[in-house]
Amino acid sequence: MIVAERKPFDEIFANAGKHHKVLLLGCGTCVTVCMAGGQKETGVLASQLRLASREKGVDLEVTEHTITRQCDAEFFDDTTSRLVEESDAVISMGCGVGVQFCSDRYPNKTVYPALNTEFFGATLEQGVWTERCAGCGQCIVDKFGGICPVARCSKSLLNGPCGGSADGRCEINPDVDCAWQKIYDHMETLGRVDELEEIQPLKDWSHNRDGGPRTVRKEDVRL
């Protein structure tokens, strides 16, 4: 899923304060799972904004509303569109995709992001999410025991660890696992360590975002 974190309150409040009536729009998919922008978090932020505006004597009316997905046109129903039109601006609790989708849909409204979108990740434990995929467009994790060096090595090294791997930790931070120690250990468990002798050639980054914004077309399902 896409993992995001809420922006500092002051940053959101500064944007909201430029308007009299804002719609806080939550998203019911990824950011609900990572507890950043779902219905619950939308409610909490709406209350904070109302409280702060009252305390500071700012004339601000906050409406809250959450839709199933902000990255899909079908969920922007009539109710949502009406609420948007009735507001001076929208504060999206969706990821960066949701913010842009919303902005495209309502070109006469300014849409502010309430979240910082971080990465594609997994839930490690309650309240902890971690990056697992860099979306490079050409998956090669099978060569590395199912562990991605592009996303999980700080230097995206494809041919083994740098000199900074010590006791299973990455040199950038003792809290970060060395991806290459994990790759080595896993390949050893699989009895495939020998495969790491193979020199991985230069990666074709044209499938990555480096090739420009990407689009996937699945012709057999297009209307």
Binding site: K155, N159, P161, C162, G163, C178, I199, L202
Partner: protein
């Protein structure tokens, strides 16, 4: 080996090919456009080593470019080994710089991943890592031997123009102390197969572990296919020894050395004494082809160390 088989003709290559024990050192470019510092440092190293590494934004701190500083050092009579990291440039920029470096007379290049920018003075920058150090070694080898760029295009101005490819002696780093330990030798083998002619190791304090690593290297016969220069950094103080032990990832300083530094009346002198002993010991380990003296910001001390270790005078190999 006859002269005609030389890959680059650099002094470092000639010394190693002739079977003589090589000595390299290091010169850190200034954190400014100051040329005088390079001249001063170069004067300390002239005649003391066969070639001198010119670091590339080491520890991710901005300095004068390694190619520019290398050319300035060359004017002072040194032979540079230009370091290139994969952190700051992509494959276009690096290949362009390799052509430029060669055109300016540079014959040795050392390929590195590069310290993460988090450690330097621009921690908010974006890193590149378009390729890793092993891939970079292979790009240089293909440029030199196959006379092609990474994309496969020939290194010539037009179809009818002659091929003018950079003939570079290719180096890489080796860390005998990194984890996972068995992979340290695998990495060396990969660097050799990718096309590295020589490696310089991380500085060695834990001689027992280095000996074990060299045994693994010899078991694979790697020492016969790649020149291994053992890294030595003299300890200047007890604080430095403890810092190396505690804060430098993948580097261990054994207790007996910490004890010696602690009880020494003159720690700096003791550190140099330890370094000389290490160099003499390393020289006798089968498969070690030379010493790489990294006296960090202490270029003045290198001549004395090399002298005491019996590494002077340096040979002139035609």
């Amino acid at each position: 080996m006859s002269v005609t088989t030389l890959k680059s003709g650099s002094m470092l290559e000639r010394v190693l090919v002739s079977g003589k024990f090589a000595v390299t050192s290091e010169l850190g470019p200034p954190k400014s456009a100051d040329v005088e510092t390079i001249k001063e440092k170069a004067a300390c190293l002239k005649g003391v080593c066969d070639a001198v590494n010119i670091t590339d934004n080491q520890t991710a701190i901005v300095r004068m470019s390694s190619i520019a500083a290398g050319v300035l050092a060359m004017r002072e009579g040194l032979e540079p080994v230009i370091q290139i990291t994969c952190r700051d440039r992509n494959r276009l920029a690096i290949q362009a710089d390799v052509l430029g470096a060669y055109a300016l007379g540079i014959r040795n290049i050392l390929c590195l991943s590069g310290d993460h920018q988090r450690f330097g003075n621009h921690p908010t920058s974006k890193n590149v890592f378009d390729m890793d150090s092993i891939q970079l070694v292979n790009v240089l080898k293909r440029m030199r031997d196959d006379k092609v760029f990474a994309c496969g295009d020939e290194i010539r101005n037009s179809k009818k123009a002659p091929l003018v490819a950079p003939e570079i002696f290719i180096g890489a780093a080796a860390n005998p102390f990194g984890d996972p330990f068995p992979f340290c030798v695998t990495r060396l083998g990969k660097k050799m197969r990718a096309g590295a002619d020589f490696v310089q190791t991380q500085c060695i304090y834990d001689m027992d572990r280095f000996r074990r690593w060299m045994e693994m290297v010899r078991d694979r016969g790697l020492h016969e296919q790649i020149y291994i220069l053992a890294g030595v950094t003299p300890l200047k103080s007890l604080r430095m020894a403890e810092h190396m032990r505690d804060n430098v990832a993948g580097l261990s300083v054994p207790d007996h050395l910490i004890e010696r530094m602690k009880s020494a009346a003159d720690p700096k002198e003791e550190g140099e004494k330890i370094a000389v002993e290490q160099m003499q010991e390393l020289r006798d380990i089968p498969g070690v082809a030379g010493i790489h003296i990294m006296a960090i910001e202490a270029e003045k001390s290198v001549a004395g160390l090399a002298e005491k270790a019996g590494l002077l005078p340096r040979p002139i190999v035609d």
